[in-house]
Subunit: 735 residues, 2 copies
């Protein structure tokens, strides 16, 4: 790629960004779009709905930037939980790191590269047609002493990053402890999940659990809830309402994770349709809901049957016939729960296995419904599916890579020859299209990864998303980075690991060759950030639903931020920044711009759009830390290779202590901070327990705690009463 | 090697064995040797000292075999602790495995090999001059269908071994739990070691510990003992008594591990010399102790000074000036200790780090004296020293290997040419000398490994020996197996790991080539077992000391069995058995004989000679289990290579699931049994605590517990009173 192509790409993307920003600021001001752009504010009743027309509302403004910038971290914590703060800290951390990196890169490394002797040609006249390679390390002469500048830069940036990583880890772990200390009593602090409860002849599982814990933890034990297999019940509900459910839920299918809650809401919603459609004279825009009136009688019958079936099934389950060998056990104190959690309970280590209980609304109930064999098979399926996904994606990447080389594309599709000869088209195709395609295809992967993780048998949605986050990281790093760098067949890519000695050298050859591709990729990513700001898909969906169905659906769902896809995406740019820091420092300012835009946009979205679905207490940070360490090590390995290729063996050997030191640093951080992200110390727990001891509200809390972990599928009585209240006259006559 | 050479070797070794056994049975009957051959019995007063001369005592008999055979496992447990039982179970396990293996090997694989077509020559006439290769798998024709017999044997033996491993693991973990349940209250069950106690301004460490545990564990906390840095004290004692100490202790330098106890004993012993030499008219055989009388006055002065210095130093230490940031914290219940152990105490994971306390007499006190930097440096030193040891040993092995090829030796040392032409000499040199040399050199390594482990900073002697055991295993497997198999330079040996794909093939070529060497090695090991029975070194040492010094030293030390050298040695034969099971089944009967002899000899030694120094409760078994799994996997990898070489690719691929299954089995065992060897379950602990609750003896136990973990260097008052009682009139006049 030449400089002018890069400039074209930057121009297009900057233009698009400004356009999208202006569009957003206008759209946001329209009251009808509030549900798309500020669902949180609407839900919390903080969105002032202006009814009178205002010319100001049609002019773009930057007020939203100020409003996103202003809130302090404590306000962010209150509104988005610690996970939101951690997500925000990723940007702050990256901004700090890449400010330093960009200063060194642009003012030290770039001049050294450009003035290098290798392709030397001190002639600024024809800059637009110069290759970007002039700005990379490949322009420096072999065994030139100027390479020691790169060498020092590698040591310097590693030091800076490690220092910042340490302070950030410390800051977030202190935040985590402070967050816990200031939190109200919460069910999952007092509860553990016990699995593999042994079966004792005739006595029921609940009796076994009760006896065991009353015996060994008499002073701490409060109550227990044995988990039931409710898949039949779920099946029953889904089967009957299948068609309707799918229609109603399709829009929210992205977060269809688990919630029977949702299902029930849908059911009651469906129930409410007949009565509401009688009251209001609305009919569907396309007549989609016309048949409602005719179907009334049919539905009433169906609903009655279902309710009857569900009730029968529930009584079956309550009678203990479908109990799973797992139970949520609640204790009177946090320390009591910790004792049962950390000390192995049974002489047989495969019985009474304890683990942290997730928050009640974070439990992934379907997991309990599957049997051990089913889970084992699902795991195998996940492996096979992952392999298929890998192969599929490698094909896509190979095609995308082809686009950056016009000749290959022309050879492949000869009829495009004439079109591609137009300068603008060819510049768009080489500079913009490949990375746009990559962005698009990559956006398909997160839901698949989440599905895979859900099949693996985690008991909490947060765990599923954490696991999906790790999968996405692997995917992102491998497919967006390595697959682009190590061109060639799939097998030849993996063969690099069979010959570990040549890794640095191969990377040192391959990585710089793709510098221009990744610069273009970073630039394109600015636009994809504006997409996120505009919530394009949600906006279009809302538009269609408003104009087509015209039902006034008061109950809209507030989306939650998909950390599992956003964190790896952000971290990829960190990886790119580190790996190209020495090789092609030109990428750094573009990455810095990405993080600046990202910082504002995500703060805005966190405050206005997304509602936290769970609170892991910042447990995503260790993932960020590890990825950064990995990126550093990768940078250092490439440096070893580069100095080797540039015939400076002394520098190549002297860089070797750097990865060792980085790993030592990582090891220290693992010891110093990681345990804090796993569980809280006795000190903290006991202090919290003592604070609560004299709190009169605790009795009430314990009363609620006893029923906090009941499977929502087993709690229809609440829904029934709900429906009795206002929703379902049909049922109330029956009950 | 040809058959006749093997027979020579077997003959020599069998003869030596019988000779040594006879010698033992005669020597053992002599009352003067009782301290060498039955020190335990002497110490326990169970050795009937016959004074009248008896002709029977000069005739060899097999009574000791019967006496070693008879005791049941419970009797063994009572007398040697669970570690002794585990050591015994290794032999039982190996006997079972290799009985099955030998039956298959001799009656199925050996005929198949011998009748193989490759070197076929159905002619039993000249058997003694046939090469041993006739009995190995190399005799089977390429891609012969007979190889499927070997294939099935691999699957069969893996199944048998896994089944036996599982039952053995289960048996030993049940034993461990039962042993704990039936044990009396012991200090280390109620105690934990706390390290990295934070320093709080003015308050002393003991106050900090007291405050912390009284605050967070008020109901469980009993007392704490802050560890002091006593290196100065130790130095003081050693400096003053250096010369004498070395002289007196040289004999016991092997177990010089730690004990200041010992030092004090030596001091009092020295003190007793003047008075006793005045009373008795004995003088040293060689006049070694002649000068005692002249030195009396000098010594008296020195002793006074020392006592004064020691007392000053102790009062310094007691005043808390030399406290280490570590303390032994005692609790009122086992469960209380477990709570503090398993739940992280402090918000900062690097403070208040808890770990299991060893038995009081198992604590390695010098460790606490070294500072953090010293320990860090020692670790580095250990690494460097290990590397040096590796290089040194590879040279030795290379020389020993040369001996099996007479031509090489003749080329190297041409003047031996004539001697080597004598048949007997050449047979001894090829069949016996190499393995004898290897045995000898290998016997030097265990003390070095133990020294290395001691430098690494373990807090218990048992931990040091466990770590030394692992080091020895690595050493044994690498240097006695791989270094012999993979001939060539050190670098070429390690390069095999850089090219993992070729490992099976290279092993399949190299391992069978060394079959005859290892058969000879196994046969030689019989004799080394008889050395163990005769305790040759101890016997000679005793003989010399009895005839030279003639002091009636009533206080003799009972040796403890060095598990760290014996277990790896035994396990090596298991490894050899597994790897050569398919390749050269001829080795199996010899290995079986080894385990039979070993079983009897070690039972005899455990019952009569060795006194257990500590009780890990069978924690050596997981090491045995892991090594066996490793041996199995190695066998399977070699099988993959062999079937590949023999051009039976189908078998080569079909064997691949076998290592996967073995690893799965190992994973299951890790989950099912390993936690039992780390700590006991809440269930077990609480049951034990309840049993003790009404025991009136517990108060007395707790009183003792408070002082159980005092550094012996700080307890001289006892020694002083001792000396006042009877030993040192010199001092008593002063005090």
């Amino acid at each position: 790629m030449i400089v002018s192509a890069l400039l074209t790409s930057v121009g297009i993307n900057l233009g698009l960004c400004v356009l999208f920003f202006a569009l957003y600021s206008v759209l946001r001001k329209q009251p009808c779009n509030l549900k798309v752009y500020a669902p949180r504010l609407v839900a919390e009743g903080r969105a002032g709905q202006r009814s009178h027309f205002n010319i100001e509302a049609l002019l773009p403004s930057a007020g939203w930037v100020r409003r996103a910038w202003q809130p302090s971290e404590d306000e962010l914590l209150d509104s988005c939980g610690l996970d939101g703060v951690v997500f925000n800290r990723i940007f702050i951390f990256c901004l700090r790191v890449f400010s330093v990196a960009a200063i060194i890169g642009i003012f030290v490394l770039l001049p050294v590269n450009y003035l290098g002797d290798h392709l030397r040609d001190i002639d600024f006249s024809d800059l637009p047609n110069k290759s970007l390679d002039l700005f990379t390390i490949s322009n420096v002469k072999d065994s030139s002493n100027w390479l020691w500048v790169h060498f020092s830069a590698a040591y310097f940036i590693t030091g800076v990053v490690c220092y910042l990583l340490y302070t950030e880890y410390k800051y977030i772990s202190n935040k985590r402890i402070a967050h816990f200390s200031s939190s109200k009593p919460q069910p999952h602090h007092f509860t553990i999940l016990v699995r593999d409860i042994p079966l004792h002849g005739r006595s029921s599982l609940s009796d076994t659990v009760e006896t065991f814990f009353m015996d060994y933890h008499p002073s701490d034990y409060l109550a227990s809830t044995v988990v039931c297999r409710t898949s039949k019940l779920r099946g029953l509900i889904c089967e009957n309402f299948g068609a309707n459910c799918i229609g109603v839920m399709s829009q929210k299918s992205q977060d269809n994770g688990t919630d029977t809650e949702n299902l029930y809401r849908r059911i009651t919603h469906l129930k409410s349709i007949p009565s509401s459609s009688q009251n209001q004279s609305h009919t569907g825009f396309l007549g989609l809901f016309r048949k409602n009136d005719d179907l009334m009688g049919h539905y009433a019958k169906k609903l009655e049957d279902l309710e009857q079936n569900v009730r029968l099934e529930q009584s079956d389950i309550s009678a203990g016939r479908e109990e799973v060998r797992a139970a949520f056990v609640c204790f009177r104190s946090r320390y009591g729960a910790a004792k049962a959690l950390h000390i192995r309970q049974s002489t047989d280590p495969t019985e009474w296995v304890t683990e942290h209980a997730p928050e009640p609304h974070d439990v992934y109930w379907p997991f309990f419904s599957t049997s051990f064999t089913q889970r084992w098979i699902s795991k195998l399926v996940v492996v096979v599916a992952s392999v298929l996904l890998i192969v599929l994606f490698l094909l896509v990447v190979a095609f995308v890579q082809g686009l950056t080389y016009l000749e290959q594309l022309e050879a492949l599709l000869p009829f495009l020859k004439n079109i591609l000869k137009i300068t603008v088209v060819s510049q768009i195709v080489t500079g913009y299209l490949p990375s746009l395609l990559l962005h698009l295809v990559a956006s398909l992967v997160p839901p698949i990864m989440k599905l895979f993780s859900a099949m693996q048998g985690y008991i909490a949605i947060s765990e599923i998303e954490k696991s999906a986050c790790n999968k996405m990281l692997l995917f992102t790093i491998w497919f967006l980075f390595f697959a682009n760098v190590l061109t060639g067949s799939v097998t030849s890519q993996f063969q690099i690991f069979l010959d570990p000695k040549t890794i640095p050298e191969r990377l040192a050859v391959a990585v710089p060759a793709q510098a221009s591709f990744f610069i273009a990729y970073v630039v394109t990513s600015w636009t994809s950030l504006s997409w996120e700001l505009n919530r394009t898909i949600a906006f279009i969906g809302d538009l269609i639903s408003r104009h087509c169905s015209k039902t006034t659906d008061d109950e809209f769902q507030i989306p939650s931020i998909p950390y599992y896809s956003e964190i790896p995406r952000v971290l990829l740019f960190g990886l790119l920044g580190f790996t190209y820091f020495l090789l092609a420092p030109l990428i750094l300012p573009f990455i810095l711009v990405f993080f600046c835009i990202g910082y504002i946009i995500y703060r805005n979205q966190l405050l206005n759009v997304y509602q936290p679905k769970y609170d892991t207490g910042g447990r995503f940070w260790p993932i960020v830390h590890n990825t950064t360490i990995f990126s550093l090590i990768l940078m250092q390995i490439i440096a070893v290779g580069i100095f080797g290729l540039k015939k400076l063996p002394l520098a190549s050997s002297l860089i070797l202590p750097l990865p060792a030191l980085t790993l030592l640093f990582n090891d220290y951080c693992r010891k110093r901070f990681l345990p804090i992200f796993h569980d809280f110390a006795a000190e903290t727990l006991i202090k919290k327990d003592r604070e609560d001891r004299n709190d009169p509200a605790m009795e009430e809390f314990f009363d609620k705690l006893v029923t906090a972990y009941r499977d929502p599928a087993l709690m229809p009585i609440r829904h029934s009463t709900n429906s009795n209240d206002h929703n379902s006259p049909l049922l109330s006559s029956k009950v």
